[in-house]
């Protein structure tokens, strides 16, 4: 850990007059499981393709181990890619697919055979060596594609939406599998995904991307618990987000007026640059940190609401509530008992939370 393996500087990629990637810079450490997360069309796949060498940036540079590789073609980069469609060659069996990269390197046959065996063992596909790809499931095809890329012993493996073609159950299993693999081989992974759950559960660091720029680059926990902008707060997970007014700056936080049934609340919070008393900012609180209760909270941190609707998800129930000033709130109930009949539509109650669970957002 700690050594920079890849750094990109001011990468711009324009298609005609539209900038798909708009001047991004980034450093990625050796051994990172790095996720590029963003809505579709945010430029994350374009960026990944430039890292792989399949597209060249309009301006900017890509460095690997300090060497400029911006104009190096894909077959000369120590970077391999797992394609979204997996691109397992349909006219070759599993073994030949995995061996392809080493055959291009003109390795001796004995070495190829041995390394193919190792690579197949790594992805637990040994017994499928002679199968043609059309006799494999989606998950197995992905394993073949993984083995085929990892056998090249790249410095970096790029993964383009690797789990999007799998069904929900398999996706969960592959998430753990990918993390296990990454830790086994110790190669830096850069994954592109639009699924925040995927990014949060697998990555060590995440870059949230929107309209060709990075919004925030941080560890998953920081992104979720301390987003730096409303876009990130809203994009990652669910968030109740409302306006408030800063009353005063305090030693280790702010005093805000959140309106509604709430009075002035002191929130412990990291400093927000440029925010002064009297500014209108936003506060957010995650649904799982909100409690639906019958009683008015003693510390006044909470809102009187009417339960408008709810959705049952098995492990949890999402409550959709409306406060008296007409704003919509969500609250998560964990279904931790079997005979749990907690809510009725139309029920009146209070949404409460601890003040320190509030996130203040200046932009």
């Amino acid at each position: 850990m700690g050594k920079t393996v890849l750094s990109i500087e001011n990468i711009v990629k324009k298609f005609g007059n539209v900038a798909a990637v708009n001047g991004v810079s980034l450093t990625i450490q050796d051994g990172d499981f790095f996720a590029l997360l963003g809505p579709s069309g945010c430029g994350k796949t374009t960026l990944l393709r430039m890292l792989g060498g399949f597209d060249s940036p309009t301006s900017g540079h890509i460095f690997m181990d300090g060497i400029d590789i911006t104009d190096v073609p894909p077959n000369k980069r120590q970077i391999n890619m797992l394609f979204q469609s997996y691109a397992v060659f349909p006219h070759m069996n599993v073994e030949d697919n995995v061996a392809y990269g080493l055959r291009m390197e003109k390795r001796p046959t004995t070495e190829i055979n041995q390394r193919v065996q190792e690579a197949l063992a790594l992805v637990r596909m040994e017994e499928f060596a002679k199968r043609p790809p059309d006799k494999l499931s989606g998950g197995q095809r992905q394993r073949v594609a993984l083995a085929r890329a990892l056998i090249k012993k790249p410095r970096i493996l790029l993964l383009d939406e690797p789990l999007s073609a799998l069904d929900a159950k398999l996706r969960g299993a592959m998430q753990t599998e990918l993390v296990r693999l990454q830790q086994t081989v110790g190669i830096t992974f850069i994954i592109v995904t639009h699924d925040q759950d995927e990014a949060l559960s697998m990555a060590t660091r995440i870059a949230v991307m929107d309209e060709g720029s990075f919004c925030q680059v941080d560890a998953p926990r920081v992104l979720y618990e301390a987003p730096s902008s409303r876009f990130v707060a809203d994009f990652i997970g669910r968030m109740n987000m409302h306006e408030c007014i800063v009353i005063a700056e305090q030693d280790n936080g702010y005093c805000i007026n959140a309106g509604g049934d709430m009075g002035e609340i002191s929130v412990r919070h990291a400093p927000l640059p440029g925010v002064r008393a009297g500014d209108k900012i936003y506060y957010g609180v995650r649904p799982e940190k909100v409690i639906f209760s019958k009683d008015k909270p003693a510390d006044n941190v909470g809102n009187a609401v009417v339960l408008e609707n709810y959705s049952y998800h098995g492990d949890e129930t999402l409550l959709y509530c409306r406060s008296q000033d007409g704003t919509l709130w969500t609250c998560t109930l964990t279904n931790d008992r079997r005979n749990f009949t907690p809510v009725n539509v139309g029920e009146l109650g209070w949404l409460t939370w601890a003040a320190d669970n509030m996130i203040l957002l200046a932009k």
Partner: protein, 271 residues
Amino acid sequence: MSKPALLDYAARWWMRLFLAMFFLLLYAPIVILIIFSFNDSKRNIVWRGATGKYYAKAWANDSLIEAFINSLTIAVANMIVGTLLGVITAILLWRFRFPAKKAVEGVLALPIVIPEICMGVAMLVFFNKWWPNNLVWPLNLVNIIIAHVTFTFPFVAVIVRGQLAGLNREFELAAMDLGASEWRAMIDVLLPQIKPSIIAGALIAFTLSLEDFVITYFTAGPDSITLPVKINSMVRFSVTPEVNAASTILIIITIVAVWLAMRIQKEKTNG
């Protein structure tokens, strides 16, 4: 009997009738042609009993055999050159962006839609008039092959282009990612995947050339007669069973070629 299900087409009497008519119209003339090639009659109108002597007669007819060999030579040469040209054209159009690409794509279809007679006349003018007068283009097999390639390679290109359109480019990118050059990726990954359409295209080029009459008629010199042209000249005197025999041989070659191509494709998929 219960009512047939909506998609159970074969259970409806009118569907069966349609199918019967379809096959009758398609194959009855061919079947009659083959049957009458065994007819023991010079006139070939009334059935006079079976004989194989017209095959022997056709075999003994030197000019017919020569025409036949000419046809095969032209068809094979045309197939090789036309397929090569067609595949390259299709890949170029699929893979690269270049100026006037749309125009090239449109012009490519012209030899397919232009009436054959126009192509024939154009070829005649090309080889006789447009070519500098002091240089005489030898009217031999080569100019027929050139004429055939001109009108068959667009068919190959269109067929191969069709399969390329449905192809995922990531296969090629993946090959390059694994260390293949662009050229290697094309040979290792692209060509094997479009093999079915290449075979189909080659076959079309072969049969189009083998059976072509109009364009060949305009470009053939006195010493380079092909089988269709020869059959035409024979028919001008009378339709003898010998003509039927020659035609039957042509049909059989075509069927064998189709069958072979299908087998090659099947072997590939059974891999």
